[in-house]
Amino acid sequence: MTIMTYRQALHDTLRAEMLRDDNVFLMGEEIGIFEGSYKITAGLLKEFGEKRVRDTPIAEEGFAGAAIGAAMLGLRPVIEMMTINFSMLALDQIINHAAKIYGMFGGQASVPLVIRTPGGGGQQLGATHSQNIELFYAFVPGMKVVAPSNPADAKALLLAAIRDDDPVLFLENLALYNTKGEVPDDDTPAEIGKAAVTRPGRDLTLIGYSRMAHLAAEVATRLAESDGLDIEVVDLRSLRPLDRATIVESVKKTHAAVVLEDDWLTYGIGAEVAASISDGAFDYLDAPVRRVAMAEVPMPYAKPLETAALPSRDDAINAIRQTLAAVGHRPSALALGVPHS
């Protein structure tokens, strides 16, 4: 075990995989000389040279497609989309090509491609740079989508993604890059398609992924202290495939669920999670599944507006208390009425 940041875990894993397999190489905008917009690839150009760490022109569709074509011939490109917002310009190559080639040609060529990209918000980047559109990829058969919430998962899921023969959208998060955690030293890949119960509990199931799984853990700990609540936290980790079994199993035990997500509520990732719970745990659920998500507006630049539009810790706490109140669970008096942020 070593304690390191989410950023460090990504950097070290990329480096280790490049050392392990000559077919692994990196492509993206400003990942070389500039060392990456968020410095994940810092130092790798110097170490591996331009062949393995390729700065591309600003041409998302072109370089993503080039990575797909290279993957069809057996290379294992790991590309960086500077932020997930810009991946929209490569959507045709990713969805109409990377996700289709294996099936459309009857299984003759696979596309071992990893697309690393950060989602996020809360940095005052405005309407076009603050979107969380992992849904676009999670919706598409042929894609795999993973979303680590901590440094250990960042390593284990990146290992799995690079060694997988299908296109994997690897969702990172601007707000997580500097977060720290223990990371195992061995190279055991995680299993794509599996969620994790990161905290066992009996009162309510709190579900999240990426930054929101991180927040969920924090909120659960806090409510254990403040309200003596025993909350189970499920970190989805994989958005496609979605691990319904683990989610439903948990809710069958807790009888209540709250979903935290960084994207917009209507049609967001949480919609499928809530629908699946309401179906699979129909006879166990004591209150509606509550979703806490981003306000449905083009994200404003002004700080107070952005803050109001983003789901906060207090929003999560209120949602949990309201849900527990609805199922008849008694929160400690002390806990009532956390002001709305």
Partner: protein, 365 residues
């Protein structure tokens, strides 16, 4: 196998042998053009008989272009095309039976019936796909060239595209990247004068399409796509240049004799145009020329037609008798690496344990 493929193996020759070989090659070109022509005509018929579905785009009028280009490739070179690729598949040496079976959507098709007319793929013959999204093949082909370069290989990628495709962003991004990185790739514009019904003049501010290579300092040229020999030579030069790491843009000027796809009556064409096309047929032109030069004669032509008719009929019979894919295979090609919790649910199946009433059969997540 395409007749011209045999030619490739012939060793250096004495002058007299050489001129005989040349005649053999010319006849081979003609024979291959006939094969494409008759194959496409048969496909059109099968479509009207509802044996083929979806979109079906034919190479009618482009036979000389296809033959000239494909004969210049090494067997180890890679090919990416658009959705109008039946003739290319045949010329890469793929068994006509398997090409027709793909059109019929059968298990013996080159793409096992999953791709159809627009999506033929065969790794052994290095046809890396017909693609239905306009321009979609360009970034992919560029990436294949990148992989060759990455491994220091000597193969070249050829990527064909239509005239209408030069207007799309992927064209620009791909040519810029290929030129910037000195990739071994030849982009070939098959200029048949039309998108669907839109002329080059109405789609491109630079109607001399090959000149667009200049924006990338990419060598480029234009050739008569009704002349298989000229096309072959232009392609050979382009491939040689690309093999040295200098990508190339080749424009092949040809005609589309029928509608955009089998179902398009092409009403947008003027009477004069329709009339003109009656006399502009690469097969007729080239056949007449070879006959005049004494390379072909009515008997030889008849023999070729007979051989080809046999191949095409056999292909249709083979396709018709090849089985349809079984519904049980529906979930076989979503992922190359099996993954936990993959959805393998038919539309009628519930998300969770089936309810009392008789539930549909099939896999279950």
């Amino acid at each position: 196998m395409p007749a011209q493929a045999r030619r490739r193996r012939s060793a250096p020759q004495a002058p007299d042998r050489a001129s005989r070989d040349r005649e053999v090659q010319l006849r081979a070109f003609y024979r291959d053009m006939v094969l494409i022509r008759r194959f496409e005509e048969r496909a059109a018929r099968a479509y009207t008989e509802a044996l083929i579905g979806g979109y079906c785009h034919l190479n009618l009028g482009e036979e000389a272009a296809v033959v000239g280009l494909m004969s210049a490739l090494n067997p180890t070179d890679y090919l990416f095309t658009n959705y109008r690729e039946h003739g290319y598949a045949l010329m890469r040496g793929i068994d006509p039976n398997r090409v027709m079976a793909e059109l019929y959507g059968r298990v013996d098709g080159v793409s096992k019936g999953w791709g159809g007319s627009m999506h033929m793929f065969d790794m052994t013959h290095r046809l890396l796909g017909g693609y239905g999204i306009v321009g979609g093949q360009l970034p992919l082909a560029t990436g294949a060239a990148l992989a060759i370069d990455y491994r220091g290989g000597s193969e070249v990628v050829m990527c064909t595209l239509g005239d209408g495709t030069t207007a799309i962003g992927a064209f620009h991004e791909s040519l810029n990247i290929a030129a910037l990185w000195n990739l071994p790739i030849v982009f070939v514009i098959i200029n048949n004068g039309l998108g669907m019904g839109t002329t080059v003049a109405k789609a491109s501010a630079e109607p001399e399409l090959y000149k667009r290579g200049a924006a990338y300092r990419m060598e480029s040229a234009r050739v008569d796509g009704f002349d298989p020999v000229a096309t072959h030579e232009a392609a050979a030069k382009a491939l040689e240049t690309a093999r040295k790491g200098r990508p190339y843009l080749l424009e092949v000027v040809t005609e589309r004799l029928r509608g955009h796809s089998v179902v398009d009556p092409a009403r947008y064409r003027t009477a004069e145009e329709v009339e003109r096309l009656k006399h502009e047929d690469p097969l007729q032109t080239f056949g007449a020329k070879l006959t005049a030069d004494g390379v072909l004669d009515p008997d030889r032509i008849a023999a070729i037609e007979q051989e080809v008719a046999g191949i095409v009929t056999a292909a249709a019979d083979f396709a018709a008798s090849s089985p349809h894919p079984a519904v049980t295979t529906l979930f076989d090609y979503t992922y190359a690496t099996p993954v936990a919790n993959d959805s393998r649910r038919l539309p009628g199946q519930p998300l969770f344990e089936p309810l009392p009433l008789p539930a549909p059969s099939g896999a279950h997540a």
